[in-house]
Symmetry: D2
Subunit: 270 residues, 4 copies
């Protein structure tokens, strides 16, 4: 059945004939393979243009920063899935990617929207401090969390966040969004009553928006980066499996508190 309006029927990403594959207007075999790196290709696919050196450097830095942070929930989900279904590497990767959500890795996108909103307010004439105060106030009034700040482990400051801002300065691309990210961090104690350090999910949109990375694809950075890490974990899972060790230890941490007939004796598994 026909769902929605269907008048737009085009795509501009690639086409091909039997000899040639065109990607964003470039001959894939003749101009791209062997000539550009994978992160440049990702930028080209997304935006239609090859990146400048600064764009490439900042994009690489964010992908490296967010790829790996140990046995986080999505890695565990992925390794357990491979242990149960070793026939499908793609299924285990997919299970891990599904955990890149609003609470964990998707906060990069949410922080990008926050910075963008402050930038738009500030562009209307108010200074950045006033715009920040206004937007954070709106978030608080609506009961929304402030994305991009605070970390369960790196309470004194996320070392990845500081480094990303530094790379942006080195690349000469630090701009308005990085300034906003700093401003939010500086004002948070007075606006919400306690300090919260910028985390990696806040630093990523700050430096990427400053080099023109599209906001609507912000979540793509943690997703792509984590895919690399998931593949590494799944290689290790094939070589030194821990998927079922993880699930056993996790299950042991949880009690059953539902109804129990008198005749039932809890066992090792209860």
């Amino acid at each position: 059945m026909k769902i929605g309006r269907q008048d737009q029927r085009s795509s501009a990403i690639s086409t091909s004939n039997s000899d040639t594959i065109l990607v964003r207007g470039h001959d894939l075999a003749g101009e791209l393979i062997g000539h550009i790196g994978f992160s440049e290709h990702f930028w080209l696919l997304l935006t239609g243009e090859l990146p400048s050196p600064a764009q490439r450097r900042v994009l690489d830095a964010t992908l490296v920063a967010i790829a790996e942070h140990g046995l986080v929930p999505s890695v565990q989900a992925s390794r357990m899935t491979l242990a149960a279904a070793p026939e499908s590497l793609q299924g285990a990767v997919a299970a891990g990617i599904l955990g890149c959500g609003s609470v964990i890795l998707g906060s990069a996108e949410a922080a990008g929207r926050l910075f963008n909103e402050i930038a738009m307010q500030a562009a209307g004439g108010a200074g950045i401090d006033a715009a920040t105060t206004k937007v954070i106030g709106d978030y608080r009034a609506a009961g929304r969390p402030i994305p991009g700040y605070g970390h369960p482990l790196h309470k004194q400051g996320d070392p990845r966040a500081q480094r990303l801002l530094e790379v942006a300065r080195e690349a000469g691309s630090s701009g308005r969004h990085a300034e906003i990210a700093h401003t939010v961090e500086r004002l948070l104690p007075q606006l919400i009553g306690r300090p919260l350090a910028l985390n990696v999910s806040g630093a990523i949109p700050a430096v990427l928006l400053d080099v023109g990375y599209p906001l609507a694809a912000m979540k793509g950075v943690p997703i792509l980066a984590r895919t690399a890490s998931l593949i590494a974990h799944l290689l290790e899972e094939q070589q030194r499996p821990i998927g079922f060790v993880l699930s056993h230890a996790a299950a042991e941490a949880i009690d059953y508190d539902g109804a129990t007939p008198a005749s039932f004796k809890a066992g090792d598994d209860a």
Copy 2:
């Protein structure tokens, strides 16, 4: 419950304390972010070692080669999924990755296993021609398809495959597996009765095995590469949606041939 043996309880990929994140023994913020590119980081995550220039160049070339080839089934599945569930970019990416299976993109891994088997046979003393003849014969006897050869569109030769082999030669890394890939292509007419050109899924393991990329992670290359492309398609889908156009056109191509009561009049949607 305890499933399987659980005596191995370690991982060597990363650890952290409140100040520092170690990835493969390197300080992530101090040594990696801003110093290495994303594809180098992927190699480091997988193997525990930073890549040589040849390893990096060949890996980049394969990722660029396989990332994008138009509105293939997995891209369509991904775009339809985003159209139906725009709240979850990660779900749409996952739906696309799930189509990296044994028939489509997973054939890179299958071709890698084929070349590896021929290499092992040849290492036993037989020449490459004899080993190829033996292994292809075994595949045929078992009714297994020959992975890595032939393409529905690029019947005269896949331009990406030729270019990948060329990049490997340029990088000085072309070796035993590329030789095997050529040998299989040369012998196929006599072994299976018709010529089939090496395709991109055959060239990828040929050049990657020659630089020491781990066979058990071979499927990771098309999965990671396609993730980049899926994110680009999903950005376009947000800006210029075609997900429901695709599903409407596809449904129109299929007839209903099940039972139909006399009273039912087929409609536009039949």
Copy 3:
């Protein structure tokens, strides 16, 4: 690392020892298998209680109603995924489920939230008409669509919706939420300027909330129902494959409108 508060460490769904599996306090082998049907078991798992005859009848009716509606986008995504990755039936099912999102099947949950909000307003003393007017007005002011009404194919009324409301009356369970669903339909012409008939995604929460089905699990009904249908489609896909027919026809409907070098001749695949 420790994410969030972790003081709640219990689950009440099931436990077991080496002899007995308890599900919601019942001996699975002794009391449930062979004694209750699958939809009763689903209700027990969700709520901790076996359903009344009316609860069971209404739940069955909603699951039957929403299971299947032809080659919808999620079915296509699933069949294409199986064609590409036949080794993983679970991957193809997962790809289909990922399309149960806010635009397509998830609107049952959104409609449930709408009815619930109207019910809460009405419980505050206003009549249902006034509460409906208020809540629909708020939705309109916020630019939110009205979930549960209108259908691209069944413009004169969704036959499943009418039948579900009838089953609820037959079961003696039709109540406040069904009344609200009718009221919204009656008032829509004056509130939004055009009539829109209640659809199946509106009728499902109307009848389920009236029998005490939990709102937070509303999306579970289309997800469970579609899983049944996806399995049937995937059996047919194994027997009479159309996955690649769908993707070919869909790709043909889309033009490439990106950059094209003068030397490139569009081919069959353009």
Copy 4:
């Protein structure tokens, strides 16, 4: 592009016009909703025929038997995914389904193939004992595990398996495949050197093949059943979250044994 042969372009599951939805030739609103239960509908979708009472009873029994068994890996993956991505219930369900693989729940399908192979051998004239001995011997020679027997917790016999066989006898449908399942269990000590009791994944295909359930959809039974259970766990996860408790406890069970610079002090998170 055109992949594979595309001459079959039909589906027999459903069609519709603006008034009527036909499912397997039945008017969905007029004949099915409110008249049949969900498990009957599943059988109809799969086979094109409404089930007999015995078919329905056995199908229900298998779905009830396999739906829930505590905090198994796929449930954990699903709950962790919802904790990280609460905006997508469908994503959390999908993550759980992806763990229905060859090692865990998919063994129902593998056991079905084993029984089917023995049945075909026996149909060729050999008795069931001889056919079993032959087929199990082939499995052993190929290094393949024997699916459907043994359980990490229920070592003395899986209570669900015994009950399923009993339900089949009560329904009058116990036949050749149940006999084979018993025969394998009886002969295993002499064929593989130790006793292994029939488990639920062996009993499911035994009783389902005896009522004519299609072998190629066998994995659909655990997938559909677990979907019901996953939805219940995800409702509980919304009400009493344990997703991050699970991941924290699991991570604590694993040591880091990779390279560590002298300057790095392992922290709480190491």
